[in-house]
Symmetry: C3
Subunit: 130 residues, 3 copies
């Protein structure tokens, strides 16, 4: 796979963890990866949510991930950004709707973009909706 794009719309920790692991492994394998965080998938990166580890979970698996102290998606995405070609974008529409600023989120996004700009970037990519 030469290019992978992920629309990250789920706020459930299990799904976001899966997204971060797929993105990280693909990136390590040399794939260009683009992540577009929107809806509850974007909310999961809010500073107050991250500080309190207040993510939604699908169930026990997600709760166990939080309690175990295992590395979570923020770390996984950050490491992948350092090692590979991974870019992360925050959804401008949701930020406008909720009057949020980029400072309300942990420092992980490369830019704030709209759906139109995102679709322009993923023309030739395999796109996953998570």
């Amino acid at each position: 796979m030469s290019k992978l794009a992920i629309v990250l719309a789920s706020g459930e920790l299990e799904k976001i963890q899966a997204a971060s692991i797929i993105a990280s492994v693909a990136s390590t394998l040399g794939t260009e990866v683009i992540v577009f965080a929107t809806m509850d998938g974007l909310m999961a990166f809010k500073k107050d949510v991250v500080e309190k580890k207040a993510w939604k979970t699908a169930g026990e698996l997600g709760k166990g991930m939080i309690e175990s102290g295992a590395p979570l998606f923020i770390d996984t995405f950050r490491q992948a950004k350092e090692v590979g070609n991974l870019k992360m974008y925050a959804c401008g529409m949701i930020m406008d709707m909720l009057k949020l600023k980029i400072d309300d989120f942990v420092d992980i996004f490369d830019d704030v973009v709209g759906v139109s700009a995102f679709l322009g970037m993923v023309e030739d990519a395999q796109v996953l909706f998570i």
Copy 2:
């Protein structure tokens, strides 16, 4: 992207809104879009659900979308159908299972099809499962 297909299986408003916005923007950009509504994604188009705005939500974001009176997915899909090349299909299997008729849904679907027919239509498309 020349062709985008969306399997809309989620009943959560946030996910359906995301689907409608991606479909609408892609359609505006000249992409042929095919939406196949099934499972709870189909139920979200039932007349009684739409009238009462009785959609499931993942959380506060979805509830806020309903309360704000902002345009929701029904309008977004309809406008995209008027402007671009967007077709919407209802899943025949779920309709049979629940003994539902096309009249039980708001007027938005181009046809009722099965999974086999849908897969035949999306041969060369980027497919998203939402």
Copy 3:
């Protein structure tokens, strides 16, 4: 579609049913299908969960599927494996994390693999995240 890959991460019966039907129909149409079960999508195949039909559901639709006694995803996947070219893989990372063995799951998986091996298999496939 010549090759379809499904990352099955959802534990909701409605989503898993959708996955099994898409996989089965695609397989019948001659498509090579690869399913990678992870997170709650893997847990749905645990022997104790299957015996008790203790799957999570998104709502009434899923509950009705269990109560109706209609064929569920285990049967659908198994039949597709007999008839078509469908391979199913369990996620090794989640099994390690939860100290689970392949014997803890119903007999349906061809192998236990990691994300890296899975991504290597789906290079030229249409990938769905469910």
